[in-house]
Symmetry: C2
Subunit: 408 residues, 2 copies
């Protein structure tokens, strides 16, 4: 019998009726002759509620206590799912991260999986049980509970699939897979039948919320195909895989966007060594993640340094940067929070000229001003005014004819 790992997100187990729906889906896979391992997230907003409770006690909870607290949410949903399976006649057993043998490092709140000892899971599967594993959690060398941070349950699922040599890893969510663009923004956006790991990573990093990049990276590292599909229907979803067998019909696969962008410009900076580190090291120390960095060509040994941060970090970032700007005798330091980011993503773009040009002309035709441009091998990103993002995404979706691509 082959093993299938299925993961259901918080919206798929948000209430008892939805948990019963998941039980029926799991039962179906079992009936098809699979050994099934299910990973579940906490029900609906449970994790947020637990976080709110902790915040009422203290602004700075101990990582160890915080993780043990948060881990309870997944225990609730996995025991309820086991009961729901029992009720419809299927043997099932739920396991905490510790019982499932998920060993992590000791970085509370963002632990990494060091390895999985799947002995208990294998025993339970061989006894005919569906095995339900609490996602998002593990245990460290001190036998204390850790949590894996954002995207944690996806990571649990992919890691288990790899460790158990599963034939497939299915991530079930509340949307029909990975879309060519945000369907709330582009009416003709649609779910892709397949996407490569690299492209999916760019999509995830540049705004597509369907799956966390960390789990995709893990899948890529061990070449584990990941199907992202909806738990509320039978639509086929999107297969994330190694891409060698993929037939590339259109080199731009999808359009990602992100509204949570702010820009800081340090203007009139003397261009000498050490300036970049003088600015970016204190930002890193303050826990502020810097995305795009652009340094203009230097004129008379004076340059401008522009970079983006998350909009929610802007006040904290300006507090760090302003005194540094003064001390390095920069002319001024300006911030802009009314920005958004759009990216076109697709393999092979770098070797096929004209994609950047097509992107820029589609934007300029609509008088959308580009503040910053960055590129990777499979992505071109433009920072534009926030109130133009929707229009820009729609324009690019049409320019690259994504409405025609791979429609099933």
């Amino acid at each position: 019998m082959s093993i299938v790992v299925q993961k259901y997100g918080g919206s798929s187990v948000a209430d008892v009726e939805k948990i019963k729906n998941v039980a029926r889906r799991v039962a179906k896979s079992r009936d098809e002759g699979n050994q099934v391992v299910v990973v579940v997230s906490a029900m609906g907003d449970t994790t947020d509620d637990l976080i709110a409770l902790a915040k009422k006690v203290t602004a700075h909870p101990s990582g160890r206590e915080y993780d043990l607290l948060l881990s309870t949410g997944e225990l609730v949903s996995c025991t309820l799912l086991a009961m729901a399976l029992n009720t419809i006649g299927y043997r099932a057993v739920s396991l905490s991260g510790a019982q499932a043998g998920i060993k992590t490092d000791t970085e509370y709140n963002r632990a990494h999986i060091l390895g999985i000892s799947p002995k208990r899971i294998t025993e339970e599967l061989n006894e005919g049980n569906v095995v339900i594993v609490a996602g998002f959690q593990g245990i460290n060398k001190d036998k204390d509970v850790t949590t894996l941070g954002r995207g944690g349950s996806d990571t649990t699922a992919v890691a288990l699939a790899i460790s158990l040599k599963a034939k497939a890893c299915h991530i079930y969510t509340d949307v029909d897979g990975v879309f060519t663009a945000d369907p709330r923004m582009v009416p003709e956006a649609h779910s892709m039948p397949e996407i490569g790991y690299e492209e999916m990573l760019e999509m995830a990093t540049y705004g597509a919320r369907v799956m966390h990049s960390r789990a995709v990276e893990l899948g890529q590292m061990y070449n584990m195909p990941i199907l992202v599909a909806c738990s509320f229907n039978e639509n086929p979803g999107t297969l994330i895989h190694g891409g060698k067998a993929m037939e590339i019909k259109n080199k731009v696969t999808g359009i990602a966007h992100d509204m949570d962008i702010a820009k800081i410009m340090v203007v009139g900076v003397p261009d000498r060594p050490g300036i970049a580190s003088a600015i970016f090291e204190p930002l890193a120390t303050a826990g502020i993640s810097v995305d795009t960095i652009v340094q203009n060509a230097s004129i008379d040994n004076i340059t401008d340094l522009t970079f983006t941060v998350a909009e929610s970090d802007i006040d904290k970032a300006m507090k760090v940067v302003k005194p540094i700007a003064e001390s390095i005798k920069a002319r001024e330091c300006i911030s802009n929070t009314k920005l958004g980011e759009i990216s076109i993503i697709g393999t092979g773009m770098q070797n096929a000229p004209g994609y950047a040009a097509k992107m820029f002309s589609a934007l300029s035709e609509r008088n959308i001003n580009i503040h910053l441009i960055t590129t990777s091998e499979i992505r071109i990103t433009c920072i534009v005014d926030e109130d133009r993002v929707g229009e820009a995404v729609r324009a690019l979706h049409r320019a690259f004819e994504l409405e025609k691509a791979d429609i099933r």
Copy 2:
């Protein structure tokens, strides 16, 4: 340094403000130079909420899954308490039942503690931590989580106190200790300074809800003194102890009562061997607990059999008993749910005549009819009409002059 075990019930940790209050109380004991182990119940109605959730999934949850589900409630409260202690400058660490080394049998939902391996607790205490243990839970030989059933957190606290050779075990609740009678019923009822284990057991079994008899039994077995006090004030509470040092001023210690009583009379039963087991074995199989049993003297080989069950069990019990009554050719089978039970409790009653007489005359003076009488070494119980229970408790409290006894 000596070890103190403190247990806080659900009402003492019902919200974040109450948890902060508990943290201050724990801190005070730490400041007094104690090593402190704290056992907590789940916050307020959390356990009931989790039970309701499970009931929405299935009427018959798997014991294993049910226990893992219920165990999450105590994890939430113990992590929040650890955070609250950290916030006011005290080192604290919370432990699940498994981490605290609480080993149980495999009887899910009503597991018994087989032993405690307190290695982790001792290590954490020696590192200067307050140790907070999730009450009501343990781990069985299969490394699965079990829960201890009603009164579970009290049992956890007493067992830990014994295992750690603590100098005291404090049970904090929302009342000022063990009362001479229910203060909602008897205005002059008051908290007793002390009570013996045996008397406390009778009080608990016969209606006083302050502490579960199981934890008292454990305390008695290992001679561990247990202080029951209120978490919201500094009143001294009631010390439950071995009784040898107790000065007995008044042989009746307290009045217990229970409204949840129903009576079944099987009338006109042929008095031959095997009749009692023919009735009581099927009741036990159906999970119905029978309290008082009275069999009248047999006349012409015909007798009446009367017994009490919990009022909530009466329909189930009648369904079991009626067909048996017919098959053994009993004349009829009558139930009465409008009953209550009152008990006077005190050591030495059996050796001092006149207590029963005083009880009966106090009741008859008020025309309160007695349906049934049972006695133990330290208790006399009368079943009376439900609507007379309050009056009966007040009458007995006065007759035995409990308003004068041991008032501090």
